[in-house]
């Protein structure tokens, strides 16, 4: 079975992810009819689409066989790839973070900051994060009886937490949020830098100019932290050593960029998507409101539900067989996390939002050596926010149609209008 043109075009279409239903239907069809097959879409190199939960795990646990860095780690067009390679001296990557690395670099660079994100070391942040959460809940209460939960709370709370962890001053948070939305929302005219639908050239130029702005900003932070180290992540990156040498410039800048973008945007999307789902499913809200012990289940289900990272790409380093298919050395593969997280073979009623779902072994954080470094922080932030919010929130309902970002890589809700009562 080859993937029909309209299905292949849907799974690369940023608008289909904003629509939600279209992309869900395409992946449901694929899981049933062509769970692992090649997509041929005009303007893109052919790529395998890995739709089943089990196959995603199989690829992610074999890091030597399926590399992150050999080709673009995110879906890109032939033209955009050519342009990036031209700019980057042949490399397919505009940045070189953990996402674009393989071993031994990946392990060495990951170890540099891993300790900061271990659960036992995050415990010391709990009281401060709770204080931050309370501040945003007060802000929400001050809106009266309605707000846009995405813009008024969900975008800002994880941003504030992560910027404190990195060491970015509060006054620069609006700038970090804008740059993040311009980067991940490059396909969304409401979020990107030019405010228009961009062609490939303009899209790459736009992303590159955002990356340059991040680099200019974090260059200054690096210089400051080398002169005046503090107890923050920026100081770890600025003064870190790999094999006895300081981090490479591109690698250091990329480390900051991934922390300052994916570090909060994914949690924001999940937080916004969770309240959207609770407002749309009053029985689930009533359950968690009555029993706070269900909050960890809500957190896990909302991560599965939103799956803010829509894909990563892998490249086969040798001929391989996967699910009965012959993958050739050099083949490019899309790991579709939203599809894995709706896999009927793993999740009963996968399109039902169920905070009591157990087990809930979703792949939203990835799996294997590249599993999300910040997953424990993300869970902790959401748990604390819901503990504090549900102690005050009496009712919530949608107050208009929520809207998703137009993007096919990292995205979630961009507007969740709600009406609520709280004390």
């Amino acid at each position: 079975m080859t993937i029909p043109k309209e299905v292949a075009e849907t799974i690369v279409d940023p608008q289909a992810y904003a629509d939600g239903k279209r992309v869900d239907e395409a992946f449901s069809w694929l899981r049933k009819e062509a769970p692992l097959d090649q997509a041929h879409v005009e303007g893109f190199d052919p790529f395998w689409v890995v739709t089943r939960h089990a196959d995603i795990l199989e690829v992610e646990r074999q890091n030597d066989l399926f590399h992150n860095g050999d080709r673009s780690a995110t879906l890109t067009t032939i033209e955009a790839d050519r342009k990036v390679r031209e700019m980057m001296g042949g490399s397919p990557h505009l940045v070189r973070s953990l996402v674009q690395m393989d071993n031994p670099d990946h392990m060495n660079y990951r170890r540099l900051t891993q300790g900061s994100f271990l659960p036992q070391n995050l415990r010391s942040l709990e009281a401060r994060i709770r204080e931050i959460a309370r501040g945003f809940i007060d802000h929400m209460a001050a809106q009266g009886d309605h707000c846009d939960f995405a813009r008024d709370v969900a975008f800002l709370y994880p941003l504030h937490v992560v910027m404190e962890v990195i060491g970015v001053p509060e006054s620069d948070e609006p700038r970090m949020l804008k740059l993040t939305q311009e980067l991940f929302g490059a396909s969304d005219p409401e979020l990107n830098r030019s405010g228009a639908v961009l062609d490939v050239d303009a899209g790459v130029d736009s992303i590159q100019s955002v990356v340059m702005d991040f680099m200019t900003y974090f260059n200054a932070i690096t210089e400051d932290r080398r002169a005046n180290p503090r107890n923050d992540l920026a100081s770890v990156i600025a003064n870190g050593k790999i094999n006895g040498e300081p981090l490479g410039h591109l690698e250091a800048m990329s480390y900051y960029i991934i922390a300052a973008t994916a570090g909060h945007d994914t949690t924001s999307s999940t937080t916004a998507g969770a309240l959207w789902a609770l407002a749309a499913n009053p029985d689930q809200f009533a359950k968690v409101k009555a029993n706070p012990a269900l909050i960890p289940g809500l957190v896990e289900e909302s991560i599965r539900w939103v799956t803010p990272v829509k894909h990563f790409m892998r490249t086969a380093t040798a001929d391989a067989e996967l699910a009965g298919k012959k993958i050739a050395k050099g083949d490019w593969m899309m790991l579709s996390y939203p599809s894995g997280n709706r896999d009927e073979a793993v999740f009963k009623d996968p399109f039902k939002f169920d905070i009591e779902r157990t087990p809930n072994k979703h792949v939203a954080f990835g799996y294997g050596a590249h599993v999300c470094l910040g997953q424990h922080l993300a869970r902790m932030e959401m748990r604390i926010l819901w503990e504090e919010l549900f102690a005050r929130l009496e009712s919530v309902e949608l107050d208009g149609e929520p809207r998703n970002m137009v993007a096919n890589f990292v995205c979630g809700p961009k507007s969740v209008p709600i009406r609520f009562k709280m004390h």
Binding site: F117, T358, A369, V371
Partner: protein, 58 residues
Amino acid sequence: MAEPYKVWQCRTCGYIYEEEFGDPGEGLAPGTRWADLPDTWICPLCGTPKADFDMIEL
């Protein structure tokens, strides 16, 4: 006297296995000792083998 409970942590993702609490979601009852997990057991969050866990103190 019973051996004190120990805590083990995945080197890749930081998942913590506390013998005292087990991991009921993974079918491991409270009190299940690390030594009683099969060698083929893998980290439930990231798939790292049992051999790549470290004993830690919380």
